[in-house]
């Protein structure tokens, strides 16, 4: 009801604020008997971690995860898995004037209007830092999906600000700070970010995520369609403003004779649908694309008001990501994994194990 739980069967409840003592989550519904330790989760957290290049926030957080429950002798028991990450590099003094004014484009205005109170330190609850527990939970989901169904995930950046990033080679993705599947474009991306940082401004990005190997049959019509839940999950990531499944907005100018993926006994001949028909997976690759807006915390002066409604000018200093899209790839993969495990378990509630991917 109050929005801090994701999922119906494999449900993840997160807690914490950017500058509080800790952040974390509780996973309820993880199937029992799966081997699990911190070592399964830490690598995903490390992919998302701040401070790893000059293009992201310089806050130093090891993001070390501790499993507090739900695992006995190295295996999940079916009981809640609590994951705890202590905050270690809070510098709340950096955020002094943020408490009294609203950054244009930032959640602080909306939180203030909703609750009449907000934790302004580092964005409080609305900070992108809160994607860390999501990534941790997503690592657990990914492991189960891989072991039980052979599902794999891949994500990359396809555009940074005005620079399109043509897909060349998936093996390049982990080799640069941008998750770019293209080594040649990296110097251009770096120069773009350096100029942006110098200007005290920020930019947007476009991220692609693909899941492969899932069976046909996951997804719950009418409302809880697989693609509807993916849209919900992606739009729920900080700064996301658009989501596409398959060909997305390009479908508008397609003809039916062009869009509908023909089927042969060997499989589909194309994938305009992006792996979902009628809200249910088809067994094709699941293709998702998302638009991320530029960060609102910038040094460029901007007109705003303070909490008393008086006009002011806001310049935001301190440590901020000039493009939150740079660290968004592992987050989008994690959210997709959370959607898929939730629907995998929902499916077998109604239809049984034996019918998965009949």
């Amino acid at each position: 009801m109050s929005g801090n739980t994701f999922g119906h069967t494999f449900s993840v409840t997160t807690f914490g604020e950017s500058h509080g003592p800790a952040i974390g989550c509780v996973i309820d519904g993880c199937p029992p008997g799966m081997a699990l330790s911190e070592a399964d989760i830490q690598p995903e957290l490390d992919r998302r971690r701040p401070g790893t290049s000059r293009h992201v926030t310089q806050r130093q957080e090891p993001d070390r995860v501790e499993i507090l429950s739900g695992v006995y002798e190295g295996k999940t028991t079916g009981t809640p898995i609590a994951l705890l990450i202590r905050n270690e590099d809070q510098r709340s003094k950096d955020y002094g004037n943020i408490a009294a004014t609203f950054r244009p484009g930032h959640a602080d205005f909306a939180y203030w209007n909703k609750y009449g109170i907000r934790d302004p330190r580092g964005g409080g609850r609305s900070s992108a830092r809160l994607t860390a527990p999501v990534v941790a939970a997503g690592a657990v989901a990914k492991k189960w999906l891989a072991e039980r169904h052979g599902v794999s995930f891949s994500g990359w950046m396809s555009q940074l600000g005005e620079i399109a990033i043509p897909f060349v080679d998936a093996t390049e993705i982990p080799n640069n700070a941008f998750f770019a599947p293209n080594a040649a474009v990296v110097p251009e991306l770096e120069a773009y970010m350096d100029a942006l940082r110098k200007a005290g401004d920020s930019c947007g990005a476009r991220i692609e995520v693909v899941a492969r190997g899932l069976p046909a049959g996951w997804g719950e019509p009418l409302f809880d369609k697989l693609d509807a839940d993916i849209a919900f999950a992606m739009m729920g990531i900080n700064a996301v403003k658009g989501v596409e499944i398959g060909d997305g907005f390009a479908c508008v100018s397609q003809k039916g004779s062009e869009h509908g993926d023909e089927i042969t006994p060997e499989g589909f001949l194309s994938n305009h649908a992006g792996g979902v028909l009628g809200g249910i997976s088809t067994g094709q690759d699941l293709r998702v694309s998302l638009a991320i807006k530029p960060t609102s915390s910038i040094r460029v002066p901007r007109k705003s008001i303070d909490i008393h409604g008086e006009p002011t000018v806001v310049e935001t200093h301190g440590r901020h990501d000039p493009c939150v899209g740079i660290r968004a790839t592992p987050i989008a993969e994690a959210m997709l994994a959370l959607v898929l495990i939730d629907h995998a378990l929902r499916h077998r509630a109604q239809c049984g194990d034996v019918n998965v991917g009949r």
Copy 2:
């Protein structure tokens, strides 16, 4: 869990198939004491109704709604409101060969794989006919939002296939079959549809929806953001493949200094955000855009398989919308209304009435 209920506080559970005896829904959680009769609902159903122009399916359905419960002496009582619409123009014989084969791009393949059984008559549960109960429930939500909070809704088509429809005049929207805010473009749209129908093909469309007058403070972080729920709602409409909030995918190439809406004591100076920050409404207009794919039921022959996995060629005859986007505008408005009333009520659960739009 099985996906046929929308909303947490004002929850709508729909039922029915395209060619079954009836379709309908049960609304649970409508506030008590609101005047309500069929006359409040029927006009919205009429906007969505089939058979009203040559550009949509020729199926003749009056879509007459009957209120079965929840209203006493013309007022809602707070108990469930059941709405019933009898199907009157089923012609199941039109759909004979559909039962044994899969239309490329249609949900029938996915339903078959999920459930091992499906009602093939007119698409069964996956038919766009099932948006009628949604529109009926949306009419109830709109009424409450208007009376209690002064919220109003507006929707239109901004692109049909390859034809962009520049916004000229909102008063033109009800004057043409396309919900086009532009009288001049209508002849071109009609010619386009006539040619398409002749070719036995289909096309996509782009729809815009706006809600005005809502207070700041609706929306539940972290996951159940207002925009996340809007994305969920819109992507759950048949044939939708993309959703944008505010500037959507255009944000990717915007700078932070361009995107963030500056604030003055008199209000926001722009609306790139589309009315949501951090998942919570800002009081700006709520702007949503959606991409609708071309219909899969076309006469153009397409390669497919039958239910035994054997190759076949599918040509779909019978009565179908050549562009489901044409009737999508009232559906998108209804879904937006359902999201808003749900969040209005969720907000006052946690924060109380007095804090709404403080």
Copy 3:
């Protein structure tokens, strides 16, 4: 949220009022592929039907159920099953003065205070008539539980007012109006009810329900224990004021060495637990007992107030059950079936089909 849906996986949303045009429910989550027709449901409705003896309300309702959706060619499709029952014997004039006053012990006072409006005709939404859709949904649940898991149900009355009904013979249960497992006591029960009716008064009853054949492993700790959900379900039946599982309140004075059911390779040696340990089924018979209060609609004059807060005296005439417990047995069985199917499906979501009753 507003309380008219039961269950998480096999969820039943009911609607309707005692004197509205119709009552019914929508079942979402029924597994696909099960044979189902009205003939599977009607016999359970007939067990609960009013007007079948002089000891229950004389309202004449055939309670004929119509399946509106979710079944294709005689089989469930996995989509929502809507069940409709038209009200046929409303006599709203009988209830004239009920609208302006509150019956001591009746829900009308509470509804009025909650909603500020209520449908007073026949108790409106709070009428025991609304157990009919529950019984209909329970029939669907019973069928699946029997076919898939071999679970069977049995219920009977063990006390009527001051008269205890010793359990003698289960085959006698359908042979009398009271669901008494004891032919010898029936004349005494009849005389008791006749005297009560003559006095214009009412009485309570105690009902027992047992489910047999369920596997070990159903139930979700920590909060959604199987017995917690049973207590929820039973206390949700009109007029129920107490629920026991297994030995219930007798446990208070038992020793641990007496209560704990010893186990052998052949099974449990006793059943004090009533089939649940730690909130999870053990495979023992599930034993539930409930206390039903006397009906509040009686002819005996009672002090009360009217809707303006003025003192008045209330005598309730019209058609009422002098003991709602008489028709409660099939209702309690239905609720138990709804709990069990819900937990059966929840269990397989997390633990899979193969682990059910390992």
Copy 4:
């Protein structure tokens, strides 16, 4: 779905095992702006704490609670409140043989059958230790209910094993280890427990809980009745086997003319209903009674089987409560508070703040 979350609006998700590193919970939906610190919670935890008399388990746990999130400058912010309690006195070696055998009457048999794996140390997840986070969350709920609505709670033991405890004086409740409202009976209770402990056996108890000051109008018909949710909450407490509201099972032999509480302009003349009619609060005192079974971990030898199905004899040594009912009073109060705050917030979602207790 997997049962570790309680409540819809004020939802509490607990995690942890008896001998894991920590236990705790996340509260989502707490209204913003309420003063809150650990000092508001610790006293309730201290009431429930083990090791405080010779009649309860001798495990030494300070049960010190840490607030990890959701509070800023001493006030709730509307975001999730995570509460952490480190386990400090685990002695897993005490529980060696418990891992391989099933205690008659204990959850370990059911967990094993459900999940195929279980954490046997101290009962793992099924331990009564997991009521500590519930009590902590209940303290937050109690505070809001007191400040916003003036609701107060009172609980006591009314029977210990075979010894009835007549209610004499509420001020005595905190003065003895049993929560007995009666100083005179305490020596008898102590002697009873000493004999029981010597015999290596255990006993049951009966607990009463009352909430005072709540308005009329809380509770959601049809299924989520206030009393149904209370029954759910109470039956979900470890070892509870029976729940009564108001007169409970005594209603069975009452007449309607005796049971229905007469109303005057000054209020109700009696309280047989226990504060609920039709599932909605009446403004009367809310009266709840529960039956707690004897602990299953006893030294008396009992027949059982091991995890391979072979017969064995079980004697349970180590540190255990000989009567879990002794510490149940604050737990039952906490669960009642969680039900009430949940319904208070649910009520204002649908009916608004202004209508609470009209």
